[in-house]
Amino acid sequence: MTAETVTPTAPADERVAAKSRMAKLLGRPEIGALVGAVALFAFFSVVAPVFLQPGSIATVLYGASTIGIMAVGVSLLMIGGEFDLSTGVAVISSALMASLFSWYFSMNVWVGVALALVLSLTVGFINGWILVKTKLPSFIVTLATFLMLTGLNLGLTRAIGGSVSSPSISDMDGFDSAKAVFASSLTLGGVEVRITVFIWIALVAVASWILLRTRVGNWIFASGGDAYAARAVGVPVVKTKIGLFMGVGFCAWILGMHNLFAFSTVQSGEGIGNEFLYIIAAVIGGCLLTGGYGSAIGGAIGAFIFGMANKGIVYAEWNPDWFKFFLGLMLLLATMVNMVVKRRAEQS
């Protein structure tokens, strides 16, 4: 084998080296998204100068963070080879759990917050457990969870609170402290930045650390890349996958608590369709639908692109009706770029 690598003449060797450097750069999962994000940022800076004002950037970041927090869990799950269609309504389920429980029993809202966390982790666990036990595709399992949670959200909210939205909990014990944790703003250089932006950045940092620098991270890549091979070398694939679904549950809890304490009431029919936004952010960020490849930072860039496009259209004073069209186009382009990247990584 050494003979094979030596035989080419010197100039040929140089070409090989140059190509592999290029492949290495293109091999980064988030490179496509990064180029897209920079292009989009430059574009909106030119067509809508107001876009560059600190206040606008804070607004864009807030929009991005509400997608990005979920995209962290969803990205890791997709790298682990699965995806989750129940995330959009799971966020609302978590918020409803906290608000309805606290309201019905007139308890400190923090009790509801804790129970909501238990519920969110349990939903994640059940998703993962059914998936590994039945070996059904995650599309079917989480579609079922999505429908069931949608029904439960509407049915229980009306049964307990008597309305389609949960009763306001703004005057209850513990509301102010919970709002400070989940839905406050911090002033940074004269600009109000929502706390979700910082939570989002912290989650991305922790997820990147787990993914790249811990054993669990190695297992996530392996479970998604080739679950059979991973199991054969002793990776606990079942635990890894269940854990990833629970991680998504944790993110849904954080976002659910933000929604609840930002508005003090929750619409029980909300959240439907948001699961696709999280998946889109992860895919634009370079996570492969088939698993085994991607990054947490990629998902964050995907969410940032979403935030920029969403608010940028408003700042540019365009008709926001066109937004979904551009989102679809970006998704298509991103997946095509990812396909090329994967092929290069596998065999270049």
């Binding site: 084998m1 620098r213 890549f221 091979a229 054969a232 002793g234 085994g292 990584a345």
Partner: protein, 293 residues
């Protein structure tokens, strides 16, 4: 491993080395399909046991039992002196039984070093700061592969970029490094060209000389005979012969595997179709070898 190293070198039949694995009348069925029945074989330190058979002969089932992917349901399976019935690959791995599979030895999108340590990652620090010892893992991977004769420019490149032979060798080097006592190789040469096959066969001998018991599964007697010490022949889930190297020739192995009568039929068929005379002569020679048995 040190105790077995002294017996390395193969060859000499004096003072039989200890059995690492012994299968006695082992069988396995999936529902009402009998995948394996009444198979007896053993694996010794510093020896290569070859398992030969055509497609569907039960070779894969046999390794799945030894590697702990599926438990057997007939006969006894002894590993390191104790009767066992593995329920997961982890329990086999903990005993030092490592399998290298034909196409799922590695996760192709992951870097070489991550694959090398997959499932047995080295860490440093403690508590929430326990993290992968990336530098050490990369260094060990590079060194171990170099000892196997593979010089990689970059252990960060995805395994999918390596050639088939190199990928097999990464998996073999990994098993050897993690103190495997028994190395199971599932058709390591099946998808390789002549040169790459030769490289893999050399690593089999290297693993043997390090004192490992090697189980080499293949359908190619020409690959098995030069490196093997014992030969188990499987056909349709049953054992049709278990030989020491001294008791069997390459021609006999080939003939037994193909089945004399079937070969004769094939020769006639080829002749009837007006096939090239050299091919027919070759098949007829094989038939002759069978009849001499």
């Amino acid at each position: 491993m040190d105790s077995t190293k002294s017996q390395a070198g193969g060859g000499a039949d004096t003072a039989p080395p200890p059995h690492l694995l012994r299968l006695d009348k082992v069988g396995k069925h999936y529902g009402n399909v009998i995948a394996l029945h009444d198979v007896t074989m053993d694996v010794e330190a510093g020896r290569v046991t070859c398992v030969l058979g055509d497609n569907g002969a039960g070779k894969s089932t046999l390794i799945k039992i030894i590697a702990g992917l599926h438990p057997h349901d007939e006969g006894t399976f002894t590993a390191l002196g104790e009767e066992r019935r593995f329920t997961s690959p982890r329990s086999a791995l903990d005993l030092g039984i490592a399998a290298v599979y034909q196409d799922l030895a590695v996760v192709s999108l992951m870097p070489v070093w991550r694959n090398f340590f997959l499932g047995s990652e080295l860490t440093t620090g403690s508590g929430p700061f326990r993290r992968l010892d990336v530098a050490r893992m990369k260094e060990i991977t590079k060194r171990e592969l170099q000892e196997m004769g593979i010089d990689l420019r970059d252990v960060e490149q995805p395994v999918g970029q390596l050639s088939g032979g190199e990928r097999q060798c990464v998996a073999i080097a990994r098993a050897v490094y993690f103190g495997a006592k028994v190395l199971i190789l599932d058709e390591p040469t099946a998808a390789l060209g002549v040169k790459q096959s030769g490289v893999v066969l050399r690593y089999i001998l290297q693993a043997r000389d390090r004192g490992l018991g090697v189980v080499f599964i293949t359908h190619n007697p020409h690959h098995a005979y030069p490196v093997g010490d014992r030969f188990l022949l499987l056909k349709r889930g049953r054992s049709i012969g278990y030989y020491k190297k001294s008791d069997v020739t390459l021609d006999q192995l080939t003939a037994q595997m193909a089945g004399g009568a079937e070969l004769e039929e094939l020769a006639q068929e080829l002749e009837a179709m007006g096939s090239h005379s050299e091919v027919v002569a070759e098949v007829e020679a094989e038939v002759g070898a069978t009849l001499r048995d």
